[in-house]
Every structure is written in C-alpha cells, then in structure tokens.
Symmetry: C2
Subunit: 233 residues, 2 copies
C-alpha cells in the first residue's frame, strides 16, 4: 500500500476513534504532518483520498471538516473504483453470462473513439451483493487498454485486474442515469417483473491520460441498490 | 462575477471553439496563465470550477483533459448549486405548496444537529423544468443560517437568495438515493400513477464551515429527470 493510502487509513481511524461528528473540524495539514511524521504532500494526497470517498470536506481557507459516514452498503458514485471498492464491507460476486469479442454497435464505437473495423470485448454479467442481485451489467472494453479478458477474470473484480496486472491507470468516468420501467427481458435478468422500476445507468471510463476504455450499461435492482454521492459546491 | 469565474468561462469558450473532444489535452496551467494574463492561483481556481462541473479532468503529473460535455437537461449531482445552476439552458420554475415554521421530526433534528426545542422552516414545492414536473421537494431549513423564508422567495432559486442576500457560503452536501415505487399520495403530487417508478432522494447541505442548514427529501419524476455525475478514481 502506498504511503499516502496508509496515512489516509490512519486519519480515518483517528476520525472514528475520536468520535468526530459531521461538521466537526479536523486538525490542520501542518498538525497532521507532525502527528504522522510524513511530508506535507503525503498528508495532502491522503486528504484527497478521504475527500473523494466523502469522509471529509476541505474548505478553502477555512479548514478540514468531517462529513457524515457513508451508509453501509451504499455505492459511492463519485469515486470510481469498481463494485468491490464501492460496496465496502459487503461481499460482491458475479455470474458471467457472456465474454466475447464483437464488433461494437455504432454508439459504443463513438464513445470508445474506435476506428470502424476494430473489435472489442463484450462482457455481460449479473453482479450480486451478499447474494442478492445488485445489477445486470453489459460492458464493452477497448482492447488497446484491456489487452485480455476471459470468464474467470470477469468473475472477479475487473478493476483490480486492470490496475494490478495490466497496470492501467484509471482516471475518471462520466455517469448518466435515469429511472425507468423494466421491459420483460430485462426484468427477467433481474428476477423482477415487467414494469418494475430500475436505475438505467451508463458509464464511460477513461485512463488518467483521457483514453476511454470501458463503456458500460447497467440496470440496477431497485430493491437492492443504494447510492451515495459526496457532493460539493 | 469573480475573476476566476470569468477565466473559467473563457477557458470553457476556448474548449468549445477549439472543438476539443473528450480525452483531448488542454494547454498547461503555465500556458493558460500567459494566455489570459492572470495569476497562477486564478487559473487553478478556474480549473477547479470546470472540473467540478465535469468539463475537464486534471491528472496529477500528466495534464488537463477535456471531458464529454454534460448532456443538456441533465442534473449534475456532484456540483451542488440548486436547480437553476444544475439544469443549464432550461427554464426552472416552482409551485410552492407550503412554507411554515414547524418543530422538525426527530430524524431531521438530528441531521441538522439542532437542540430539542428549536423550530425550522419547512418548505414543500413542486419544481418544474420547461413546464414539466421535475420533482416534489420537502426541505427543512436551519433558521440560524436561513434567517428568513417566505413564499415569494421559495418561488425563486433559494440558493441564489442564500448566497447573494444572506451571504451563506454553501460548502458541500451528502446525497443518498434509491429507486422506489410511488405510493398513491406521492404519485398524485407528481401527476403519476401509484406503483410508477421514482428516484427517492435525500440531501443534507452544509456551509463551508460544516454547519448543516438544509435537509431535503425529493421525489424525482422518472420521465422528466436525467442525472449526470462527473466521477473520479
């Protein structure tokens, strides 16, 4: 684990053990630097991690404040880390329905900025949290970045695989969603009934250097999916 | 308008007129500083504004990248600015159902960190976008921060009023949401039918110094509300 991630964990523990409440002020960067005997830039990187996860808020010229703790089982939609990262404390499993190389539909080709004749990996799977259906996922992967994919990889966390084995640096993503009624086919995938609600969710992931590599379409199960966003002015 | 907001507008225009695509690299901070003849800190603040709105992405040690443009009519859930800010280019109106001083329910009292016997403003209204129902809103306001509220204020943008008249510095907010089926009473408010889908949405807003001042519960109309999040690793 990187130094700043260790410090992030320590500060988080400090918040928990200090019984800080939402809105309470934390010690300054200088004080934290002394407290953990690390450089100022390590403290700043650690605070950025905690800010993205929604644990703290840094007010320009005012200080560092504790936020409400993310409720257990809620997906943090601001911090893109794949399901395993997002659903802290719960067991995430997958049932892979399909992994294959396909010619992508035109809309996907455009979002991944691919040439006409390029094939991509298509993955379809059901994601479970603590054994309950979380969502049906259909993802297209750019093969220039996601060099290889098969069923046994897709049963695990793809983002762990990308970061730790393929050394992909995941940067940012754009999320668009609406609320819809399920059609019969999609309801069947989620073990629900036609006309039941769902969250209809699109996400395009980019590397840190702006290359789109994953174009995903997800349908979330309305009874099992809960969402959290640490928002800012 | 503040200097950095002017520069943010100029950089945004530069992106639009330069026909930058998602993933394209922008000039460095140093170059932008020269281009607009402002201080480095003004450029950095301008870039922060554009990053929160999801226009750009800043990769540590790598550069500044253009993101996909937010689709028109989508609410940006990361950047908390009230409806008028969020639904760029569309007309936002409100029908106020109720503004009154009440004793808050226990759950609201806790979220606003209020003493037992304190009253709050309760606002209920329907928000419209281009004349269509966007959501039903029920908000409780801490009277220490929201010093005054009445029907004519609530018909406009409350956040404009808070920032420009009451000089409230809006800092951050925590958003939690799920997808639900509407009950008969709520369906009636949204001019929908019992059992129709909705986004069931809670948000607590804090000042920059961590004081919670607005505890809101919203039900979004599934056919009229579209959402966007500029997410990061």
């Amino acid at each position: 684990m990187l130094k700043y991630e260790q410090i992030a964990q320590k500060i988080n523990l400090f918040i928990e053990e200090g019984h800080f409440q939402a809105g309470d002020k934390l010690p300054s960067v200088e004080t934290l630097k002394e407290q953990y005997q690390v450089s100022k830039s390590t403290v700043i990187k650690a605070l950025e991690v905690l800010e993205k996860r929604g644990f703290i808020y840094q007010a320009r010229g005012s200080g560092i404040y504790v936020r409400n703790k993310q409720r257990e089982g809620y997906l943090n939609l601001f911090s893109t880390g794949g399901f395993s990262d997002e659903v802290v404390g719960l067991e995430v499993t997958n049932k892979v329905l399909k992994v294959e190389e396909v010619t992508p539909p035109e809309s996907v080709r455009q979002k991944l900025k691919l040439k006409d004749d390029v094939s991509v990996y298509l993955l379809e799977r059901i994601v479970y949290v603590n054994g309950d259906i979380l969502c049906y996922e259909q993802s297209y992967f750019n093969k220039d970045i996601v060099l290889f994919l098969n069923e046994s990889i897709a049963e695990q966390s793809i983002f762990n695989y990308l970061e730790n084995h393929l050394k992909v640096k995941i940067g940012f993503s754009d999320i668009y969603f609406t609320v819809d009624k399920l059609n019969a086919s999609d309801a069947n995938k989620l073990e629900l009934v036609e006309g039941d609600p769902c969250l209809n969710y699109e996400q395009v992931f980019y590397t840190t250097t702006g290359v789109p590599f994953d174009c995903s379409h997800l349908l979330y199960h309305y009874q099992n999916a809960y969402f959290y966003i640490p928002s800012q002015k």
